[in-house]
Each structure stands twice: as C-alpha cells, then as structure tokens.
C-alpha cells in the first residue's frame, strides 16, 4: 500500500532542549496510527512538524513523496490538521469559516459550496452551520475543527487529541467518525485515552522524551514485553481438580500451576506459558481425554496501560 507519510530521522531542537529526537515513522493509506506518550514527550511538536507549522532541525518529512520543506504548499494541500487546542475564529459563522478554509486549501470555486456542505453533514454540523463559532459548545467546536481538517480531502489526517474534553456521547461520535475516515487516507492521532488506541488504531507509536520508545501493533508490543503470560482454565467438577493439575503439569512449558474454586462446581486453574506456545488446543485435547469438561480457556492480556507503564520504566 502507498506510503502517505514518511518521517525520516527527524529531530527538533529548541535552544538547548531536544523536543524530538531522531523520529522515524511511516503510515500507509488506510492505516490509523496512534501516537502515545506522557506530557512533554514531543507528540505535539512532531505533529506540528509533520503539518509544516515549523521545520525540523534535521531529517525530512515526505507527504505522499513530497518533501514538506522543499514544496510546502503542495505538501500542505495533502494534510488535514486538528490541533490539540482547537482555536478557531470565534467571530465567524461556521459555514463562512469553512468556505474560507476550502478556498485557501485550493478547493475550486464551483465545487466549494458542495464540499463545505458535504463536510458539514459528515461532521453533524447541519443545525449550527449559521451560528457564530464562538458561541458553540466545545463538542461542536471540535467538529468544526474536524470539518476544516477534512476539507480538501487530504491524504493525511493529523489529529492531536481529538477527543479530549468531550462528553462520552461526543467521544463516541468522534471515534466513529475517525474510524470511517481511514478508508482512503492515512490517520495519525495522539491521545491520552489508551483504550481509544486499542479501539481505533492499527499501530501504535510510543514516544518518551522526544524519542520512539516502541512501535507496532498492540499485540506486537505485548509479545515484546512479556516472555510468558498467564492462562486461566475453567473446568467443571471439583473432584477433577487434582487430575486437571496433573494434566497441566504434564504439558511441557506450563509452569506455576495453581487452582481456585470459583463457584459451585467450577474450578479455575492458572498457569504461566511461554509467549510463543500454542497452548489452547493442547490443553483442551489433554483435559478432554481425561474426561474433564473445559468451560473456558482465557489468556491474560496486558492492557495498553500496562504496556505503556512497563515501557516507561
């Protein structure tokens, strides 16, 4: 798939402070990449460089193959940006503002009204399109911010904490909107809400102190972090507990086997298995052979929070 964003060895230095340190990243069309990191990790600086707000101190950024420093106007036409603080012209009406943005983004005069109308509908702004932006609620302002980012149908969307400060309904709406946007474009978005990343992103890039701490899918990061993980096996029949423990002890690789009686006849056995072991079929097969009914086999999964905290350690 075509790579829309290529960040190559990019650093940004402010006076003596290195805000971003040799960042390398690429995003293809159809991908949503989550940008994670504690406050001051360099996420916003990196996003501002990607959008051409200021240039990197070293390295280069390509938008669909176009170097943003060499051809800023061409590259910026392919970017839609929603900043962390969505500050819009409060004294303009929504439709008037979107028309202005469409014009400077190079949307032709004849197709401008249609493009603006389309984004207004897409972002659910129909009822407030004639209102002054300054009088809108935070949720609606965020939608106007998203609508302006979408104007010009950019190939790359850069969203800096798009759901921060919104109520749960608004968060859910914006998430659904973002999910629908990845179809024919690349999306890079930062957030503090980690489950949001698991929900929306195909990949995660974790930043700390300006450098990439880890990157990959949530599963890849988890596998990278834990050498082994915990398995929970729920069986039926308390009388079969000792037998089940023996079966598990007989499977190579499983260790730290314990059991607890959950409720009535159900017994939960726990053990640890190496990350690379395909354990599920083996356990089911061996226990079934002994006439033990298996109700459930669960693999403990690290949450993104746990991965994040472990990486930061």
């Amino acid at each position: 798939m075509a790579q829309i964003l290529q960040v190559e060895d990019v650093s940004k230095k402010f006076a003596s402070r290195l805000a971003v340190n040799q960042l390398t990243l690429s995003i293809s069309s159809g991908e949503i990449v989550g940008f994670l990191g504690p406050n001051g990790a360099g996420k916003t600086t990196a996003m501002r460089m990607i959008c051409g707000f200021f240039p990197p101190s070293s390295g280069r950024i390509l938008i669909d193959g176009v170097d943003i420093q060499q051809e800023p106007t061409t590259a910026k036409k392919m970017i839609g940006y929603l900043p962390e603080t969505v500050s819009l012209y409060g004294d303009m009406r929504v439709v008037e503002y979107l028309n202005f943005v469409a014009a400077v983004k190079g949307v032709g005069f004849l197709s401008r009204a249609k493009a603006v109308k389309e984004k207004i509908e897409q972002c659910g702004l129909g009822d407030v399109s004639k209102r002054l932006i300054g009088r809108l609620s935070k949720g609606f302002k965020q939608r106007v911010g998203l609508a302006q980012a979408l104007l010009g149908d950019p190939k790359l969307l850069v969203l800096d904490e798009p759901t921060s400060g919104l109520d749960p309904k608004q968060i859910s709406d914006i998430r659904a909107l973002i999910h629908g946007l990845k179809k024919d474009r690349a999306v890079l978005f930062s957030t503090h809400i980690l489950p949001e990343v698991s929900m929306l992103c195909s990949r995660v890039v974790m930043l700390d102190q300006g450098r990439v701490l880890a990157s990959g899918t949530v599963e890849e990061l988890e596998a990278h972090l834990s050498e082994d993980f915990q398995i929970q096996v729920t069986i039926l029949g308390r009388s079969k507990t000792t037998e089940a423990v023996h079966v598990l002890q007989g499977i190579e690789g499983l260790k730290d086997i314990h059991f607890v009686v959950a409720e009535s006849e159900q017994v939960v056995l726990t053990c640890r298995a190496p990350a690379q072991l395909e354990f599920r079929n083996v356990i089911t097969e061996r226990l079934s052979k002994q006439g033990i009914s298996v109700i459930e086999i669960k693999r403990e999964q690290l949450t993104l929070e746990e991965i994040f905290l472990r990486l930061l350690k």
Binding site: F14, R48, P72, D91
Partner: protein, 258 residues
C-alpha cells in the same frame, strides 16, 4: 495571488463581525467631517474680513488653506486610528491561538502577511472614501478648489496611512496582546510627531536628519500638491521594510517553541 485575496477578504470582513469596524468608521467620519466643516467655516469667515487680504498676499488660496490643513489634521487623527486598525493583525491571532491552523494551511508566510495587510488596507481605504466627497460637496456649494492639489494630498494621505499600517502591523507580530500592540504603535507615532516638531525647532544637520526620518515632513509636500521621487520613495521603502520585517517576525516560530 488568490490566497492573498481570500485572506484579505477574511481580514476585512472581520472588522464588521464586531461593532469595532462600525464604531471606527463612524468616529473617523464624524471627526474628519468636523475638521472639514470647521475649516470651511473658518476660511469663509476670514476671507470676508481683513485676514482674507493677508491670506491672498501670502499666496494662500482656498485649496491650500482648507485641504492643506485638513490633510495635516487627518495625519494626527491617523495616529489614533492606525493602532486600532492594526492591533488585530497578528497580536489577536496569537492571543486566540488561531495562527497554528493558519500556518498549516497551504499558504506561504509572505501570502499570510500580504493577505492580512491588504485586508487592513481595504478597511483604511473605506475610511478614505468620503474624504473626496467632502470636497465635492463644498465644490457644489460654490467653493473653487485646485483638484490636482487635492488629489495629490489625498494620495499622500493614502500612502502615509499605508506606511503607518505597515509599522503597526509589524508591531502586532511582536506581541500576544492587542492592547500592547496598539499602545506601542501609538507610542511610535507620537515619536514621529515629535520628530516633525523637532525638525522645526532645530537647525543645521540635526534639522536635516529629523526631516529625513520624519514621515510627516515627507507627507507635508503631498499636502502642498507637490510630488517628489524622494518623498514617495520614502513611503514605499517604509512599507516594504516593515512588511519584510513582519514576514521575518512570524517565521521566528521556526526556532521558538510556539
């Protein structure tokens, strides 16, 4: 070029999103109209008495007395108007943090500066429109003006306005506070006003220096119906200098953290 016009239109219309533009226009029309009426009445009174003969002997005609004084008074009024017009430029955008998005649109820094400046120039030109109307009304009422002088004075006022706007515009790129921008711009204009005064009370090379740097000394020639390359060049260079400085000022985001 299109982008400059889009920005200029947004900037111009933003004056009328609040009452600021309306109040500013009304204030300017009221005060300039008052100046003009008083000068007409003053001239009428003088020309009927002994002073009329003295004026004639000194070679001061209707046009010189009325429009010469009128445009010099307008330059004083501009000291108050220009800071209010320019304080919105960048200071307000920096305060409201709206620049971040603007800088990520496909616009060059030069287009941003020229577009915003042009919007302010349109607003200033809107204020200038009725000035010629005053002359036409007086002409219809029986006055006899030398229109060549009037038009040159008008051009002089326009170019002085542009120079003042460019300076105020540059100052607005330096701060986040529109009020500070307006106060600082007003302060610099006061210095210009003092320079003109200083050039009159000093002599020798000091007087010459003050005359060269004072915009009002260059402007005075226009109000007298004279146009010289050096005076027009002074204003063109001033505008060019401050617009270039504005472009440089906004590009400092490249090395500052925000």
């Amino acid at each position: 070029m299109k982008n400059i016009l889009y920005l200029a239109r947004k900037e111009f219309s933003s004056y009328f999103h609040t009452w600021q533009g309306v109040f500013l226009t009304l204030f300017f029309f009221l005060v300039s109209g008052l100046f003009f009426s008083l000068l007409i009445l003053g001239y009428a009174k003088m020309s009927m008495g002994q002073m009329g003969e003295q004026l004639a002997q000194a070679g001061v005609n209707q046009t010189d007395y009325i429009f010469g004084s009128f445009f010099m008074n307008l330059s004083t009024l501009l000291i108050f108007i220009a800071p209010v017009l320019t304080m919105r430029g960048f200071a307000e955008e920096r305060r409201d943090q709206t620049l971040e998005l603007l800088f990520t649109y496909p616009l060059s820094d030069r287009e941003i500066v020229l577009g915003k400046f042009l919007g302010q120039v349109w607003m200033f030109e809107l204020l200038c429109v009725p000035l010629l109307g005053y002359g036409l009304v007086a002409q219809l009422a029986g006055a006899d003006f030398d229109w060549r002088v009037v038009l040159l004075a008008f051009v002089g006022f326009w170019i002085l306005g542009l120079a003042y706007l460019s300076l105020g515009f540059f100052i607005s790129t330096l701060t986040k506070s529109p009020v500070l921008s307006a106060v600082a711009t007003f302060g610099v204009f006061l210095i210009f006003w003092v320079l003109e005064w200083a050039s009159k009370v000093s002599d020798g090379w000091i007087a010459q220096f003050f005359q060269e740097v004072s915009p009002l000394d260059h402007y005075r020639y226009f109000t007298m119906g004279q146009i010289h390359f050096q005076h027009a060049g002074y204003f063109v260079l001033t505008i060019f200098f401050f617009l270039t400085m504005s472009v440089m000022s906004i590009s400092t985001r490249n090395w500052k953290s925000s």
